[in-house]
């Protein structure tokens, strides 16, 4: 069923009796050409592009819980392409371009809102670094604009530009950045993939791989063995656990990132703002809640909840730039498990096992990457060659000294 304004009016006039389920709930078939493990944003996007761009229709997505229950439904929904390094920026700009056409492409309202993102500057060194980043963005076809304190004050009069411990000295804006309704992304890709023949199998955990003579023949699941010509894994925070079934150890640690939402307020915050002296980012949802977050907790964990010191740190960051936040009550907070890689950048690559492919290491920035990640992973699975924008995301980059370390933090996952 195609969704449209006309359809909404027609259904409204006929008692909304014509709506059908957005995707089927099939039982698994004995075998598929391609099996995707993980029904998060990346897994579903991969299946969608396999079917819509690479003409692969015997595809299944296997999800241990329900689709959208992982990080794709837990993040702070920020999209942007403001990266510095060559390995990253073309990929993230490709992703932002896909976001721009996504809703028409998959015929689903994902509430893509290019309300703009502003990274605040607090020191001379930071200004230099941001100017360099802005130039790198422009060189790669993205948009970037350096704003003065006066320009910022005009747009965001509530920011604490005076009397602050870390005064605001300007900002780097990307006007095409913004937010997207996160779980609608999962649903939109799921519906688009399903309507092109992809089976989405929920409540089915992959418990192992069947590997014979160095070739992966399929996956063992809680619903039995499912054969596959190729298996693509995209399970984000569970990557090390899943790949250990194939005897692999990854350049990754799993960490928790917390997110927070305030009670609903009248519109106060027009775009996305990030605080550069600490780590704090905030936007306002269409329901009115201020959605914000900060650093990861910083220790290995698979518990989807964090600890209080980080809550305090995040709220301090918020108060530093945005004193009026102190009057709002916190409504909810939660955590998600991040696949923190050794250089802060992802991997989209083949493994040493024939027929087994991997997508992960997204750290806490993988939501914005969802369209490009799905596209690039579909490209790799369908053609066995890396997509043009993802050639740097290889397993062997650590061995070869080709790290993509945006922050220059070294092999310390909790600092990326």
């Amino acid at each position: 069923m195609r969704y449209s304004g006309f359809r909404v009016i027609k259904e409204a006039l006929t008692g909304h009796k014509g709506w059908t389920a957005a995707w089927r709930e099939p039982d698994p078939q004995p075998a598929y050409d391609i099996v995707i493990v993980g029904g998060g944003g990346h897994g579903l996007a991969t299946a969608y592009y396999l079917a819509s761009k690479y003409n692969q229709h015997r595809v299944a997505v296997i999800e241990k819980g329900w689709i959208g229950g992982g990080n794709v439904g837990r993040n702070t929904t920020i999209i942007r392409s403001n990266y510095l390094l060559d390995g990253n920026e073309p990929f993230y700009e490709f992703s932002l371009k896909l976001w721009e056409g996504l809703e028409q492409d998959f015929n689903y309202n994902a509430m893509v809102s290019q309300r703009g993102i502003l990274n605040l500057i607090h020191s001379d060194a930071q200004r230099d670094a941001f100017i360099r980043r802005g130039n790198a963005m422009i060189l790669n076809g993205a948009d970037a604009e350096l704003l003065s304190t006066a320009q910022i004050k005009e747009r965001y009069p509530f920011l604490n530009t005076e009397n602050a411990r870390f005064p605001i000295k300007g900002g780097l804006a990307q006007h095409r950045g913004g937010t997207v309704r996160h779980d609608a992304v999962a649903w939109g890709y799921a519906r688009g993939a399903d309507s092109r023949g992809v089976d989405i199998i929920q409540n089915c955990e992959v418990t192992g791989f069947r590997i014979e003579n160095g070739k992966c023949l399929g996956v063992e699941t809680t619903k039995g063995f499912i054969g596959a010509g190729k298996v693509g894994c995209a399970v984000a925070g569970s990557s090390s656990r899943l790949m250990s079934h194939a005897g692999m150890r990854l350049p990754m640690e799993s960490h928790v990132l917390q997110a927070f939402v305030s009670e609903g307020l009248k519109p106060v915050l027009p775009g996305v703002i990030t605080f550069g002296a600490g780590h704090f980012y905030v936007s306002q949802s269409d329901k009115g809640g201020l959605v914000f977050g900060g650093d990861i907790d910083g220790y290995n964990t698979y518990a989807q909840r964090g600890n209080l010191p980080v809550v305090e740190d995040v709220c301090e960051g918020g108060m530093a730039i945005f004193p009026m936040l102190g009057r709002a009550r916190l409504l909810r907070m939660w955590g998600g498990i991040m696949d923190m890689s050794m250089d802060g950048s992802p991997i989209i690559d083949r493994t040493h096992i024939d027929g087994l492919y991997f997508n992960g290491g997204w750290c806490y920035g993988g939501f914005k990457a969802t369209p490009a990640s799905g596209y690039a992973f579909a490209h790799l699975l369908a053609t066995d060659t890396p997509h043009d924008t993802a050639t740097a995301y290889r397993f062997d980059r650590f061995e070869r000294g080709l790290m993509i370390d945006e922050k220059g933090m070294g092999n310390q996952p909790n600092l990326h």
């Binding site: 990854l250 640690e253 290995n300 964990t301 010191p309 050794m342 650590f398 092999n411 310390q412």
Partner: protein, 95 residues
């Protein structure tokens, strides 16, 4: 999380910074034939288990000692805390 420091008693984990897997105590031999591969694994590859994990914590806002904390990554329960110095000596003695 509360870390029961062997010398100072129970301390808030916020006083500590986290380094990672306690395998980082076992630095490979730079003279070995396979040193390049071993240092790659040492520097970049992790078990990252779901369950018990021995890990290095530094008491930065305290006595600045390094600890080996055995903690469950599924529940955050802490089973054992030892001075990293003692663990390292013990491992060296075992060879």
């Amino acid at each position: 999380m509360i870390i029961d420091h062997p010398l100072l008693g129970p301390r808030d984990s916020a006083e500590f910074t986290y380094l990672g897997d306690a395998r980082l105590l076992d630095r490979p031999d730079p003279q070995s034939e396979t040193a390049a591969a071993e240092f790659h694994d040492y520097g970049y590859i992790r078990d990252n288990p779901a369950g018990w994990h021995e890990e290095l914590w530094f008491h930065e806002a305290g006595d600045r000692s390094w600890l080996v904390v055995t903690r469950n990554t599924l529940t955050h329960e802490i089973r054992e805390v030892r001075l990293a110095r003692d663990v390292a000596r013990e491992r060296r003695a075992k060879g």
